[in-house]
Symmetry: D3
Subunit: 63 residues, 6 copies
């Protein structure tokens, strides 16, 4: 029943997502127990203009 939300900058391939959710599910079951089917994972692809660190959007040049 653990539910994951993963936010990452847009641009990852479906192959990377497939591999990531497979691995995340595997380690979750190893550590917490339960069945793989109880693990839900939702990915959010965040555009660079919508994520800022240090007050600067990732779409902008960094000093």
């Amino acid at each position: 029943m653990p539910t994951y939300h993963i936010e990452m900058l847009a641009g990852r391939t479906v192959e990377q997502k497939k591999k990531l959710v497979e691995e995340i599910t595997r380690v979750t079951v190893e550590v917490l127990g339960g069945s793989p089917n109880s693990v839900d994972i939702l990915i959010t692809d965040v555009p660079r203009e919508n994520w800022a660190t240090g007050g600067i959007l990732w779409s902008e040049p960094r000093p």
Copy 2:
């Protein structure tokens, strides 16, 4: 003031969303009291390649 976030696989029509937020708001006021205008609902349409159950994305064939 209750705030809802609803995540669902992309593909629902605006008619379904209209009906859903109307009903959710109605039952919320019935159960919790307060005014309909205090209820906010935000919907996220999740692409199938961004939701996994059991370690498999919903964009992939399931065994």
Copy 3:
């Protein structure tokens, strides 16, 4: 598979939560189809000192 997150000020009873999730699940299945077991609902009880509207926490007197 729709997943709800509901944020509300802390203080609701378990009876209210029981009724709310029952009703939300029912209207979701009516409008979107699918089975009740595919509907997950997570509630967050928000302390008044952690929610602000108009720049004022709900734990403070309002002008």
Copy 4:
């Protein structure tokens, strides 16, 4: 290390987002201390058909 999620109706310009994240980061450091680089801000542009108040989507005419 504070992490912000900001949800707003889609339609703001990148200039507005640049200014907003700059100001949010500045006031966060002023009030909480820490370094600007520890502040992450993620913006979600919400389509009008995905946000409802009072049971009515913002894409619909309001009575």
Copy 5:
């Protein structure tokens, strides 16, 4: 109507929260327009054992 969620390590005082939500609301209205009453801010106080960076919980000693 912008809605903020702020996650930070637990331990901030109510005075800091009061100041923070006041300032966040002010800069939001300056940059985006609208009225202060349309700005909602929800704070989550995260226990150190529930936040990890670099694979290490903040409740643990860092190498």
Copy 6:
């Protein structure tokens, strides 16, 4: 920079959380690249009375 939110029923030990965030961070770096320090993970312990599946809270007996 990927940011995880993990929601799970309350009751896991700190040892389980330590192991989980270590493993999640490791597989994230393996699949997506980047440095471990760019991975943030936030855990939410959800009380059983705040999570429902099939319209029934997990604090209640299931039919």
